[in-house]
């Protein structure tokens, strides 16, 4: 029994650290406002939305920075300006009775400009998901919808260019 207890205590201690997810946080000024709306379309299933934020290194490899839960009121976060971040919006669905789960995602590179705000609308309705990103110029007068940009579009920065 003692061994079981130790095992349980160890397991309980490790679980939060083992999920691999961490809440995204930064000291940067907020430049993203993310609103989400999710409906599974069935009382027997649910859909959760979250945003995984990855930093882009000069060689275009990614580094996980954290996750933002999107199931709730609009969320404001800050990501670096003048350099690209890789945003992955993940929609996880699960059934209460069928024990079937699945996830699908929408990803894009985003290179925020200094002083600009980014309004992101995330939706999941009737098994269709959508992410619309609008760039709002300083002063809020001009806004334009941004096309999604694949990670493959990233171009490595050569050491010479950095100098």
């Amino acid at each position: 029994m003692r061994n079981h207890l130790i095992t349980l205590i160890l397991a309980a201690g490790f679980i939060p650290g083992c999920s691999g997810l961490k809440t995204y946080s930064s000291d940067l000024d907020n430049n993203l406002r993310i609103s989400s709306e999710t409906e599974s379309g069935s009382m027997f299933s649910s859909v959760n939305a979250e945003l995984d934020i990855h930093r882009i290194k000069p060689d275009c490899s990614t580094e996980y920075a954290g996750t933002v839960e999107l199931d709730g009121p609009p969320v404001d976060v800050g990501i670096p300006t003048g350099r690209s971040s890789y945003l992955v919006f993940v929609f996880e669905s699960s059934g209460f009775l069928s024990s079937t789960s699945g996830s699908t995602s929408y990803d894009t590179l985003l290179r925020p400009r200094r002083g600009y705000q980014y309004d992101i609308k995330v939706s999941y309705k009737e098994n269709l998901y959508n992410v619309v990103i609008n760039e709002i110029a300083p002063g809020g007068k001009k806004r334009r919808e941004l096309e999604s940009k694949e990670l493959a579009a990233c171009r490595p920065i050569s050491p010479a260019a950095k100098k």
């Binding site: 079937t100 699945g102 929408y106 269709l128």
Partner: protein, 171 residues
Amino acid sequence: MNKISVLTMTSLCVMAIGCAGHMPQTADEFRKELPGAFMGKVEKFDVNRSHTAIGKSFQKMAPKCLDVRIKTVSQTNMSYQVIVTKWNPTVKVSDQRAELHIQQLHEQGVLNVYEVPKNGYYTMVVDANPIGKNKSQVVMYRSSVGNEALVKAIKGWAAGKNVGCPDLTKT
């Protein structure tokens, strides 16, 4: 057998033209053989857009939404099943028509009994044929069951609406 297995088997049987043992190996074969297949459906509707505009929408949305790898997990007390499927879209635009071919390559969890085309079994073929200035007839060759979100998305893309992507875990 769980819901995913049933739908997968149903889809395969539809495409196997009544489970007779042959799977279409090209989009043309799919077009020819689907109308006579069990639960095969040919749906036609008109759109007030040119076929090239529809083709552009397909070119924009199909790689983003349909070039994906989907993993679904089903678990009961007695079973645990993981299915991994790579979806492969192809878009072709010519003077005659715009085409969207959708194929599914089962990488894990599905026994491929029939000969598998290079990019997987054909799930759907969609043609946009010009029928006037800025008017096209869209023809969907598809199964009459399942894929509701996919059908809805493609109809939206054909109409030029920003409807987003279908959740392919729900097919």
